[in-house]
Assembly symmetry: C2
Homo-oligomer: 481 residues x 2
């Protein structure tokens, strides 16, 4: 059992050093690693397969709302990036510049896209003429590059994979409705498919996306108490469209402004999956996006009939649409168990001579270790139910953990007290002044405004915990990744 | 009918000007357009949806052979690109260079990947230690950039979308087998799913990929007589792995070289689909990769019951997995027909008051204009059969056209005669000397070596048509895109 021990020992305990535990899981589960291109990741098969499943599920949700996919260039001319003032201020310091093509120096330099609002608007300016051309509801799956100084696997890297949706509408109302619709799509996807509970709401003025009028965010709470911004949906109003001179002729033949949205979710979310669900044995993947949903592990596989029976099981599960693998490698069952646990495969099926004798298999749940004995003939009926239970239980557990770590503060002292002694998010009233926002962050040792939940804004009573003036918003404050 | 006429008139006839016809189809079917980034395309919804279907079908074929997907960085450090001598010579003149990140000048410049052999090898050098780590059978879907001077939609652009597979093996035999396996996957995919017949074989020395030992190519013949290289599979031997010092310990604990392959297919293939199948009414898409397989067009849609019946039809077809749309727009049926034809949607279903009375619909095939009357209750059973017939007929027609345009030449005079008077490819013997290869191309006005078909190489008799020495190969010669 030396190998088995070694595999398990290679992970730091979460209690001991959470950041090191995260790094260990990413490495031992072979999700990604750093390339020799500083700050850029290699997304390896185990990590990329999770992203492929995220793409598949999320893209289906997009298309059900009428989204069409496109692909626009990786390069943006500098003059284009500069067309929207706030946008260039936000992005110019962190883009990579192409100055040479082949052997010639370029007359105008290009940046590698950090985001593509400018390219979409530039195209729309050419093609949008009439109300008949609207709405345009587009999305692209691609990578973007931002010249970050500090990087961490999935959470922050120079190049990352994402989808960026961009839409153009005839009216502000329609664009706002689309912004909120995609905000809701993200919530449903992350909660239902990734089993990650969320705190969702509008960003404050100072936390908005560069150039946006409103930004809506979904935030997940990590076990170390930090929030992870996991997806954003932006309403731009007509700022970009006007900067790019996008106008359309309405039914009365009058020129009108157009209204824009954009929304994105990135490979960062894989970091949230790792942290929210993982344990000291490694990754724990939600069944709906797990690349492998069950690993069949034959016990005493050299004994007659065991491998045959395991393969029969494999074929039956595969035919029933379950993502199944079989581990026939020449190692001990204990080693195989440890590996399946490290990879976060939601269930394993143990099948040995004794099970075959009793016409049964043992299913072991990765999330809680529960062992379930199932009649061999019923496995393809029972396993999907078990997988759905795991999905639901993972969400419920995470939801309880989140609720346990949201606190309320009525004064600055209360907030500092919580900030110093608890792990999690704090709700507190705010007047709306950016100066108070900054002060609160400074005095609490880094609790910035994460978002303003809609349900909390209906009737805001009381005073700003910083300046004591009448509060306008109840804000969720937290430290952030 | 003014609109209808306008739509049809906007395409140049193929006979009149084939290149202009191509440009017109790309534009009118809204597949892609040039962005303001010189030489780079915007892949628009109609064009990108074709690529998504290609990805889905081809990726499935890959995974059935054990391929795993990954994603490696968009940037390559210059020192890495230089590690393999032939490779850098091939690519250095046509890459874009990043020299600045954020506000700092970079110590080492990066190129935007023109292809990723170097990045894969660099990663493998770190992780491959033992025979147990092999084989590695990886692929990535991404874009690459090559600083081309002349560009044409899909056929040649600075940035294009592709997949690049990279594999590493313990033995040369295994790597060669994988090279040929992927060569076969491409042939099957392009012929079966895209209905494009191919001429396939090995490239000559001078036409190989930079750094490869063998290159296998699939070539399609366009109606203007030019060949389009549509996919390639390369065997590298141990040249790259040795340059990158990738060595593994075999079962006897001895250090061994590793062997590499790579293989790619790009959005260029969309150009082949357009040219091979298109006609003077626009695009004709093979049903298996058509984003929409049938368009329901209601006739006299304002009459009672017509739209209801059309929608019933839509729902039934959708439930049966057919990619269906319904055109309820406020234009004439004639206009809708012209548009469906321009977009290359394989079938349309006409349903009007008379059809409803007779409990029938009329299916019109895009490929040959045939009208088929079908009992309304049987449509979801009959339509898949019609779509499969279209798929097969499109391939058969294209295959006959290809066979009609492959000629044989026994002397240089014969070859020149054919080159001057016919459209297509020419088979002729060659001694293997690159000088003769160049001469043949020069004397025939551009007929370069496309490939050497395996079935033609078994017994090569006769003389090189250029120098008269004993022939070693029978080569397919042609002009190329």
């Amino acid at each position: 059992m030396a190998n088995e021990k070694k595999l398990v020992q290679s992970i730091t305990a979460r209690e001991e050093d959470f950041a090191q535990w995260y790094t260990d899981v990413v490495k031992e589960a072979k999700l990604c690693d750093y390339s020799n291109v500083k700050g850029c990741l290699n997304y390896l098969p185990n990590g990329y397969a999770i992203w492929e499943n995220i793409q598949r599920d999320l893209d289906k949700r997009f298309k059900e709302t009428g989204v069409e996919n496109v692909y626009l260039p990786v390069l943006i001319p500098e003059s284009l990036l500069q067309k929207e003032k706030d946008h260039i201020e936000g992005f110019a310091p962190e883009v990579a510049w192409v100055t040479k093509g082949g052997t010639e120096d370029l007359e105008e330099r290009f940046c590698i896209r950090p985001t593509s609002e400018t390219l979409f608007c530039d195209h729309w300016q050419k093609v949008v003429k009439s109300y008949r051309d609207l709405p345009l509801v587009w999305n692209q799956w691609c990578s973007v590059l931002r010249w970050e100084k500090t990087t961490r696997p999935f959470l922050r890297s120079r190049e990352f994979l994402w989808q960026e949706g961009h839409t153009l509408h005839a009216t502000a109302e329609e664009a706002e409705a689309r912004t909120k619709m995609m905000f809701k799509v993200y919530q449903d996807f992350v909660q239902d498919d990734l089993a990650i509970p969320l705190v969702c709401g509008k960003k404050t003025e100072s936390e908005k996306f560069a150039g946006a009028k409103d930004t809506y965010t979904i935030e997940a709470l990590m076990p170390d108490g930090k929030a992870l911004q996991s997806g954003t949906s932006h309403f731009f109003g007509n700022s970009f469209p006007d900067s790019f001179e996008i106008k359309y002729l309405d039914k009365e033949n009058k020129l009108h402004s157009a209204y824009e949205t954009s929304w994105g979710l990135s490979t960062r979310i894989i970091g949230a999956i790792i942290m929210v669900h993982g344990d000291d044995s490694g990754l724990v993947l939600p069944p709906r996006i797990a690349p492998t949903q069950t690993m069949i592990i034959p016990i005493a596989q050299h004994k007659e009939g065991v491998l045959e029976k395991a393969k029969e099981l494999y074929n039956r599960l595969k035919e029933n649409g379950i993502r199944v693998k079989i581990d026939e490698s020449d190692t001990t069952p204990g080693f195989k168990f440890a590996e399946q646990e490290m990879l976060g495969i939601p269930t394993r099926i143990e099948i040995g001579p004794k099970d075959i004798e009793n016409n049964q298999v043992v299913v072991v749940r990765r999330d809680n270790g529960e062992k379930i004995t199932i009649n061999f003939d019923l496995i393809e009926k029972e396993l999907p139910t078990i997988l759905e239970s795991i999905q639901k239980d993972m969400f419920t557990r995470a939801k309880l953990a989140l609720e346990d770590h949201i606190f309320e503060a009525n004064t600055m002292d209360e907030m500092k007290e919580i900030a110093n002694n608890k792990i999690g998010l704090i709700k507190a009233n705010w007047c709306g002044d950016p100066e108070c926002e900054d002060n609160i962050k400074a005095e609490t040792g880094g609790f910035g405004s994460r978002c303003m939940q809609e349900e909390d804004q209906k009737e805001v009573h009381g005073k700003c915990i910083c300046c004591g003036k009448d509060a306008k918003h109840k804000v969720v404050w937290g430290k952030a990744y």
